[in-house]
């Protein structure tokens, strides 16, 4: 029964096999899997599926985009960065900043990995730390610190009391929300990297060679 089922399946996909070669099939499969992973991660971030710890949310889209940019081909990584950013923008107030940022991060990481950095744990950890920190701190700066420094520009009364209140608010948000969110996001980075690595290794001979061809990388990943 099992053999006949496999035989039928094999016969059914024979036309596809004739048209699309093995490597191309694997490429499409890789892109489909990564796209699904981006979509699921966006939902995990915004629904949210991930536990909210004392009002602190994780931002898993950031480390996911960095992992894809570090492991996948440059062009598709840039597209995934833009896709992840657009998904994020659907769920946020703003003017499309997230799509610009994630596209830029994907491009920068892909280029750094290709021309400058070795693909090892240290460089990946630094890239994650840098990209996530820049995002969280710039949001904190624009939403809270700038408000504390220039209250009148945002419609607040520029009095000593309001400036004091806004400064305390900015510090509180930094210590109770922004930095914990940064830590929470970085804690998820290894898991997301492992998922992307699994998908890329199984579906891309070229990328696997690229990752494993570097003896330092082979030891460290």
């Amino acid at each position: 029964m099992k053999a006949s089922g496999a035989g039928l399946f094999s016969a059914a996909i024979q036309p596809i096999r004739r048209v699309v070669g093995v490597q191309k099939r694997k490429k499409y499969l890789r892109r489909a899997l990564l796209g699904a992973l981006v979509l699921l991660t966006a939902m995990a971030q915004h629904v949210p599926w991930l536990p909210v710890v004392s009002g602190v949310y994780a931002l898993p889209l950031l480390p996911l985009v960095i992992s894809i940019a570090a492991l996948d081909q440059d062009i598709s990584a840039i597209f995934f960065g833009a896709f992840a950013g657009l998904l994020w923008d659907c769920n946020t107030v703003g003017f499309g900043w997230n799509s610009l940022y994630l596209t830029t991060v994907a491009f920068a990481v892909a280029m750094l990995m290709r021309y400058v950095l070795n693909r090892n744990r240290l460089s990946l950890a630094l890239l994650h730390l840098l990209a996530v920190s820049i995002y969280i701190l710039q949001r904190w700066f624009l939403d809270y610190l700038l408000l504390a420094l220039r209250p009148a520009a945002f419609g607040w009364l520029d009095t000593a009391a309001s400036r004091q209140l806004l400064r305390e608010q900015a510090l509180r948000v930094l210590l109770r929300s922004a930095l914990p969110s940064l830590l929470y996001t970085l804690l998820l980075a290894p898991l997301l990297y492992a998922l992307v690595l699994l998908i890329v290794r199984r579906t891309s001979r070229k990328q696997r060679r690229l990752i494993e061809g570097n003896p330092v990388a082979l030891q460290n990943i």
Partner: protein, 279 residues
């Protein structure tokens, strides 16, 4: 260097950057609407997100049952088997019943204000990168929702509880900033004295605890614990008589009084809300 600049990834990045930047400029120009690219992606993903939000809620309900004893679990499993057999009819009946119950909650508000027009929406997510109460709804401009529409939650006896205000709209979704967000300010009056007393807002410290504050009140203001605060209608953003919350504490500051207000709407467990699209 020339080869690098002319390479495919760099050209693709530049093209995407220009396209996304144009979308962002358009979003700014449209003053609160999403860019066309974001709206296009949202058309596909918002229904998926709505589905995943309802699945997530169902899973949370199931998880609660694991805290029960073994006997209760066995009984529950047996009941679930029975329910599965009747599921199709029960699901249709439950949906109709839920709709009726929800609209019934607004009958009081609608009867008092026949000119109000509502759009019903469900909360499908939150903005993870913003720290104070931003909600995502599964309805947008296609349902008549626009920026600065108030969002309420209902009660047949008291009327509408103010949840917040719409700040961003796409064709199939809307972003709401709740009254726990320090950027949201609501002019309020005390129902006991019928005086417009000030502006309810929040701060980082109070928002974490789930409260709003009305600060800089004069010492002569009649306000006390237990007072009900409603929107005054001043400013035109919110109609009058939407319930904001109840005073839980008054604090004496140097030259003024601060009232701590517990919002009437339970922000953490909101599911179905109504957006006031016209009044």
């Amino acid at each position: 260097m020339k080869r690098f600049i002319r390479s495919a990834p760099v050209r693709l990045f530049a093209a995407l950057l220009i396209a996304l930047s144009l979308g962002s400029l358009l979003s700014l120009a449209l003053r609160g609407n999403h860019s066309p690219l974001t709206s296009a992606v949202g058309l596909i993903t918002t229904p998926l997100q709505g589905l995943s939000a309802s699945l997530s809620r169902s899973l949370q309900d199931v998880a609660a049952h694991f805290k029960s004893s073994t006997v209760l679990q066995a009984q529950l499993a047996k009941k679930e088997e029975e329910i599965r057999a009747l599921r199709q009819r029960v699901v249709d009946y439950d949906n109709l019943k839920k709709d009726n119950a929800l609209y019934e909650k607004f009958l009081g508000l609608k009867e008092k204000n026949p000119d109000y027009q509502f759009a019903r929406a469900t909360v499908i997510g939150t903005d993870a990168a913003r720290y104070f109460g931003s909600l995502i709804l599964n309805r947008g401009s296609l349902s008549g929702i626009a920026v600065n529409n108030p969002v309420i939650f209902g009660n047949a006896v008291d009327g509408g509880y103010l949840v917040g205000i719409v700040t961003k709209v796409a064709p199939t979704s809307a972003t709401v900033e709740t009254i726990l967000n320090p950027n949201v300010n609501v002019s309020i009056y005390d129902t006991k004295s019928s005086e417009t007393i000030g502006v309810a807002t929040s701060t980082a410290e109070w928002a974490e605890q789930g409260y709003c504050v009305v600060s800089q009140l004069e010492r002569s203001t009649f306000i006390d614990r237990g007072d009900l605060l409603c929107t005054s209608g001043l400013g035109g953003l919110y109609p009058k008589d939407l319930i904001v919350g109840t005073v839980v504490e008054t604090r004496d500051e140097a030259a003024s009084v601060t009232a701590v207000v517990a919002p009437a709407a339970d922000m953490e467990h909101l599911r179905d809300v109504f957006v006031l699209i016209a009044w």
